[in-house]
Symmetry: C2
Subunit: 319 residues, 2 copies
């Protein structure tokens, strides 16, 4: 199958779909635009959790138990850091630290995050383009009942326990999409844009919060198809459902479709949610029902095929 | 034995004597002033090789095979760094990296190197004061037949192979000794200053290149006793003898005594060099002959006792 596509992705869920896509379409026909609003500086290191999850997953070096971090990982540095009284709430594996050292050093040299990411993926043998949405800093700030928390403070240190009142993407309004992201969206061969089953409020919203990215997405004139990250009223991973409740939303795939409604054409509901089809269609969104749970590599490849086929159908329907 | 003393030290050789001293005198009677001209930034990390060798040695966490780096060390980060095409010529162990992360983060917070070192030694349970000679940056530049090389480029990356023409300590002339170093030298209880068997040209000279340190040393009015790092015409470790040859000096303890002559009172020759005694004494320096090779902890303690006894004798002789 050679469908030129761009996928929008957060971390673990997005990486699964991206891996599936990388098995289905040629490398030059796929670009993954990745959330960078979770990025932060920690212990002096420039850390980009979602980019790394994409790189490690596509390089077959991801920890299979967690879906993030490196496989065959060790924790001697953290052990020593704990002994020294350093901050250990954000767990950095010994191998993983190498990625942060390289990124930090290259950024200090003046390289763009996009360039550094391209260097890392070349070193790891990843052919799929993995593109930070922007080379400008974007930082998610979570407004909670215990104050405004930087994303990793909220997500990792506080285990997403504080109640979310609002989510802000500091810097996004002034950020420019990278030239590489614009080129991917403006590629004349582009046939589909897929939204991976990532957290809409924490992983996909930051992409749309970059005005130049949102504009390029509108102008792409190809079907935009999203895979629901909510299945049977629950998030497959992470605090998506919890946050929806805290934001006063029904914990349902329908609420996700409603959230994406202004800019998507198609929505993939999990089969267990097929009863929601009429409600989603009432939003003017084409619906496809399918298994969306990606436990095996075959599941990832199957969902990638399904999403691409569906996007093609959405495109025909629009004509 | 309660002899208040200050020891001047580079890395491995100095750490051995410091460890011996720490067994012989109470913690509050000992301060080790350490070379910082080998310090550098690498992969964004603030690395202080000699300070770390002192800390790890005094904390009984040093690699016993090398005399530097941590014991029970692992190299997963370097493995991953190599895979990523990063710079691996300076080997950073997984545990060791924690020290650099803490130091880098604390310096970025605005802490002085002396403060960070005190925090690290407290965390490691080291009671002996380990004092960087200055909180200001000093950087050894080695002028060689293949150009001017930053110290670690010369020493580690090029394995001290280029021929040395001159050694420069960039920043030393403008550096201030730390208040803690001045306090140690100006302590009314001070009875001796010991110069560890470190490399005179690379480890001890940078201390003296700090004008305020040299002045405080002159004003201390206690015996200054040096242990020869050259035994039987050879350096016990590292390129000291090779550099002496390249600088046009005889590879002999006598040349070291001559180099130190303006500011030392006593010199400890290894027993194998006892024939040099008259020549060193002719420089106006009191001489003691002793075993100076520190293979075991007992050797370290024995040499520490010998040096302190000898310093006391030098003091009596001066009166």
């Amino acid at each position: 199958m050679s469908v030129h596509c761009v996928a929008l992705s957060g971390g673990v869920g997005g990486a699964k779909l991206a891996l599936g896509l990388s098995h289905v379409v040629p490398a030059d026909a796929l670009a993954v635009v990745v959330n960078t609003a979770d990025d932060f500086r920690h212990l002096g290191l420039a850390i980009s959790p979602d980019l790394d999850t994409l790189l490690y997953t596509l390089a077959a070096r991801v920890n299979p138990d967690t879906g993030w971090g490196r496989s065959d990982e060790h924790w001697h540095c953290m052990e020593a850091l704990e002994e020294l009284g350093g901050e250990t709430w954000f767990r950095l594996g010994d191998r993983d630290i190498a990625t942060h050292l390289v990124r930090t050093a290259r950024l200090a040299d003046g390289a763009r995050l996009t360039e550094v990411t391209a260097e890392l993926r070349a070193a790891l043998g990843v052919k799929t383009r993995v593109l930070p949405v922007s080379d400008d800093a974007i930082a998610t700030q979570v407004h909670t009942d215990t104050g405004v928390l930087p994303f990793q403070e909220y997500f990792v240190r506080r285990r997403a326990e504080p109640r979310v009142q609002a989510v802000e993407f500091a810097g996004a309004g002034d950020a420019q999409p990278s030239p590489e992201v614009l080129a991917a969206l403006q590629d004349a061969r582009l046939q589909a844009i897929l939204v991976a089953p990532s957290n809409p409020w924490l992983s996909i919203d930051p992409l749309l919060a970059v005005p130049g990215f949102a504009a390029a997405l509108r102008e792409a004139l190809v079907p935009v198809v999203a895979v629901s990250p909510i299945v049977g009223g629950r998030a497959l991973k992470g605090p998506t459902a919890k946050i929806m409740g805290e934001l006063g939303l029904t914990q349902s795939a329908l609420a996700v479709a409603r959230h994406y409604q202004p800019w998507i054409d198609g929505f993939i509901l999990d089969t267990v949610d097929k009863d929601l089809r009429p409600d989603v269609e009432a939003l003017g969104i084409t619906v496809h029902c399918s298994n969306t749970i990606m436990q095996t590599l075959d599941d990832r490849i199957e969902l990638a095929r399904t999403a691409l086929d569906f996007a093609r159908d959405c495109g025909k329907a629009a004509r």
